[in-house]
């Protein structure tokens, strides 16, 4: 069995087993013990703290704390298991107070952003590989600048400047080369904007004496589109964490306040 399949099977087995155990505990004690909400609450908080510690592990790569891959596996499956504890904790009722409501929303958003991130990290790398032209994210602006300069030199320069080409460059290509374009289309794997631009450029060949320059511009347009594609997908691979992490911190702070409020107003375990 391959390593990744083994990880998947182990993870699912863990998830099913932990859900079964939690369900048994819930059935046995859920309706009887007054301390049960405290138990699920503290359990949930401790698990969330542990899940948050993964970020700490990433900051301490020099300590022998196990591989990040193992941490991520635990993070994913334990994170999914928290949904069951959460449902038991809120007793399958939608929280009514604004604070509890916000806390529940935060939990839900953290969970959803995590699942979204998992999906993104599993599917987007394959699309980047299939497209080819691997590029380091931080180098994209520099490469785009180079492409723009080359395109400008072709469209505006030369011994016999072409008005048609220069006009087309000013109207259509200048903005295209100036900044990243078609973010959503790239994410959706749509080539419609590129095809439209290529069609317009190819159309120019009918009026343009210098076909070679149009061909060169076509090549640069495709290269720029490939850069935009890498930028869009690599941005998405990074951006989801900028949602997941602040939400997690907010969830931790809200949870601490929630614990303080519970102990402040409920008078402890009865």
């Amino acid at each position: 069995m391959s390593r990744f399949n083994r990880q998947l099977i182990l993870g699912i087995a863990f998830l099913v087993l932990s859900c079964a155990v939690l369900l048994l505990v819930h059935r046995r004690y859920g309706a009887l013990s007054p301390a049960y909400p405290y138990l699920t609450g503290w359990g949930l908080f401790i698990v969330i703290l542990f899940l948050s510690a993964y970020n700490g592990r990433k900051k301490l790569p020099f300590l022998p704390l196990g591989s990040s891959e193992t941490w991520l596996q635990v993070h994913v499956y334990l994170g999914l298991a928290t949904a069951v504890i959460f449902l038991f904790h809120i007793r399958f009722r939608v929280p009514t107070g604004w604070f509890e409501g916000a806390l529940a929303w935060l939990y839900g958003l953290v969970m959803l952003s995590g699942i979204f991130g998992l999906a993104v990290t599993r599917f987007l790398p394959r699309r980047l590989t299939a497209r080819g032209g691997e590029v380091i994210y931080e180098k994209i602006p520099g490469l785009r600048h180079d492409l723009r300069q080359q395109a400008e030199a072709i469209a505006l320069g030369g011994e016999q400047p072409s008005t048609t080409l220069a006009e087309f460059y000013a109207r259509r290509l200048d903005a295209f080369f100036a900044e990243p374009r078609n973010f959503v289309h790239h994410l959706a794997e749509s080539r419609r904007p590129l095809n439209a631009l290529v069609a317009e450029l190819e159309d120019l060949r009918r009026y343009q004496a210098e076909k070679e320059r149009v061909e060169q511009l076509l090549t640069l347009v495709r290269q720029k589109d490939a850069l935009d594609y890498h930028r869009a997908l690599q941005s998405m691979l990074k951006l989801w964490l900028f949602v997941h992490l602040p939400l997690t911190w907010s969830l931790l702070i809200f949870s601490l306040v929630h614990i303080a409020l519970v102990y402040g107003f409920a008078g402890g375990i009865k």
């Binding site: 990744f4 990433k58 790569p61 591989s67 990040s68 980047l128 590989t129 691979l237």
Partner: protein
């Protein structure tokens, strides 16, 4: 009227002399000294006369008392002949790593490990002055030719604590390490104040050996005595032989070298020009020929190929320790009525040093000693008929042919800890880069980018090569193999920023970095120029838990892999 012919100066082997300053008077003097005066110039061909070998392939070096001439563990490309004065070889115990300009292998303790929590606050590659202080036992000086020589400060202590042996005028050393591209086995230093040595680069040693019987016999004898016997004893094929049989085998072994010793420079040039082709590589064994000997690869690499259309298709590559031609010879010995010829060709990639054991010796001495179960399988008719798919060929690598070509064309088989990235899993998050920076003075020691083929990318990170060409020519021994696990590491204290390793590395895995002080200011030399040091991946040799980059990858996309073990790569690809 006859046509006018255009003539140009024919390019020669000696376009670049080892020592451009070598004079005719110096050559005249060398010719009066032993062993050159005993050599017969008539035996040398017109294109490589003895005099020209001495003029172009040698350099006279002078060492002062205590200066290290060769360092144990270093890789060198030349042999030495003592012209005058005396030198000493350190026998036992070995000199301490610090004395040789190296860092003693040491894992970080608890305190130093935890102290890395604050390393992010420090400027990249910053040092305290005290950190750059050299070991008191070793010094460094520059001679009149601007060459840096490292010397032992406390010679009486070396004599007291180590068993040494004198070497005097006329003695040769270092030639076996140079010819076989193996690490130097001992440290040798100058004992007298004006020791004069003739350094002969490997091409010169090779040509002198080729045309002078005495020298060849002398070096072969030393090779057989010092290196061969222990090597044969450690080779499983000869495990059953008794002492007498082993001696007979050793006496019959032939040595051969193929390819270009300085392959790294050529490789860079050819790779850039896109003209690397297996058909251009020197043939060691030719498919279809009679197998006239078993080939044992001693050092370097070979490409195992099979005819495919009008070209050659790479089936596998062979590294040090591998035996080729054995299956054919064992088959013919057992089935003389159904003989087979060589099933593959073997070509030298870069430089290959090998031993050839003639078929006659194999059949008379070796094969009868091997238990039936340990003999390789007989060839089935369809195997030798060439009707099998390429992946089912005997000797074929367990990875797809296109991957094998990619690894071979880029010489990645050299790597014992190559950073392989699976682009289908890599999210380009750079956690590996950050982990590397956090463990190495805020300076990531690799670039998460490099040649890619399909979903495989080989990052620009030190591969800790089996044939570490970066280690050739380091004047202070700063770049060296770590003694326990063989990682190639650089000691920043003794690195003088000469760029020898940086220029030698065929994979661009070494970077020169201007170092800083604790306040972030660049450290300057007395000439007010920045002090540079070579930096590279050290495989986190000082850290606990293995390479930080590998452990930091959340998606299992990055692996440090020995690309000599293609079975491991095949498993990894299917994971």
């Amino acid at each position: 009227m006859p046509p006018t012919l255009t003539t140009i100066e024919r390019p020669e082997r000696w376009d670049a002399a080892f020592d451009p300053e070598m004079t005719d008077a110096a050559v005249d003097r060398l010719l009066t000294l032993s062993p050159f005066r005993e050599m017969n110039p008539e035996k040398f061909p017109k294109r490589t006369p003895l005099r020209e070998i001495l003029k172009h392939d040698t350099i006279i070096r002078r060492y002062r008392k205590g200066e290290i001439i060769v360092r144990q563990g270093d890789y060198g490309t030349s042999g030495f002949l003592i012209l005058s004065g005396s030198t000493r070889v350190v026998l036992k115990p070995d000199l301490a790593p610090a004395v040789l300009g190296r860092k003693a292998p040491e894992k970080k303790g608890f305190g130093r490990t935890l102290a890395q929590l604050w390393s992010a606050l420090r400027p990249p590659e910053s040092f305290k002055r005290a950190q750059l202080k050299r070991d008191g036992q070793v010094g460094e000086r520059t001679n009149e030719e601007e060459q840096v020589h490292v010397f032992l400060q406390d010679l009486p202590r070396v004599f007291n604590e180590h068993r040494t042996e004198a070497m005097t005028t006329g003695d040769f050393f270092g030639e076996i390490a140079a010819l076989s591209r193996m690490p130097r086995t001992s440290t040798i230093f100058a004992e007298s104040d004006e020791a004069e040595l003739l350094e002969i680069r490997w091409q010169g040693v090779r040509d002198l050996m080729r045309h002078d019987d005495q020298l060849r016999l002398h070096i072969n004898r030393i090779y057989r005595e010092r290196a061969l016997a222990s090597y044969l004893r450690a080779t499983p094929l000869f495990r059953q032989l008794n002492k007498e049989q082993l001696e007979r085998v050793a006496a019959e072994v032939e040595f051969a070298t193929f390819g270009d010793y300085d392959w790294s420079g050529d490789y860079k040039r050819l790779a850039k020009a896109g003209t690397l082709r297996p058909e251009k590589e020197p043939v060691i064994m030719q498919e279809g020929d009679y197998p006239n000997g078993v080939v044992l690869l001693r050092a370097g690499f070979g490409r195992v190929t099979r005819k495919f259309g009008t070209g050659e298709r790479t089936l596998n590559y062979a590294g040090a320790g591998q035996v080729l031609g054995l299956r054919e010879i064992a088959h013919n010995w057992r089935k003389p009525q159904q003989p087979v010829n060589l099933q593959h060709s073997l070509r030298a990639i870069g430089y290959t040093h090998l031993l050839v054991l003639p078929t006659r010796v194999m059949e008379q001495i070796v094969l009868p000693s091997v238990p039936e179960n340990d003999l390789p399988d007989l060839f089935a008719p369809e195997e030798s008929g060439g009707s099998l798919e390429i992946q089912e060929q005997p000797g074929a690598a367990p990875v797809r042919g296109d991957i094998l070509e990619f690894l071979t064309e880029n010489r990645f088989f050299n790597g014992t800890a190559t950073m392989v990235i699976d682009l289908d899993r890599c999210t380009r998050c750079d956690d590996c880069v950050r982990a590397c920076a956090a463990t190495h003075d805020n300076n990531p020691r690799f670039l998460r980018h490099g040649p890619a083929h399909g979903r495989l990318m080989i990052a620009n990170a030190c591969m800790h090569c089996a044939d570490p060409v970066c280690m050739i020519g380091c004047p202070t021994g700063a770049i060296h193999r770590e003694s326990f696990e063989g990682q190639v590491v650089i000691n920043p204290v003794t690195c003088i920023g000469c760029k020898a390793c940086f220029l030698n590395c065929p994979y661009d895995a070494i970077r020169m970095v201007d170092i800083r002080d604790e306040k972030g200011q660049f450290m300057l030399g007395e000439d007010l120029k920045p002090i540079s040091k070579a930096t590279k991946c050290d495989l986190c040799v000082e850290n606990h838990g293995g390479p930080a980059c590998e452990r930091a990858c959340p998606h299992g996309a990055l692996e440090r892999m020995n690309l000599n073990d293609l079975a491991a790569m095949a498993t990894w690809l299917k994971r």
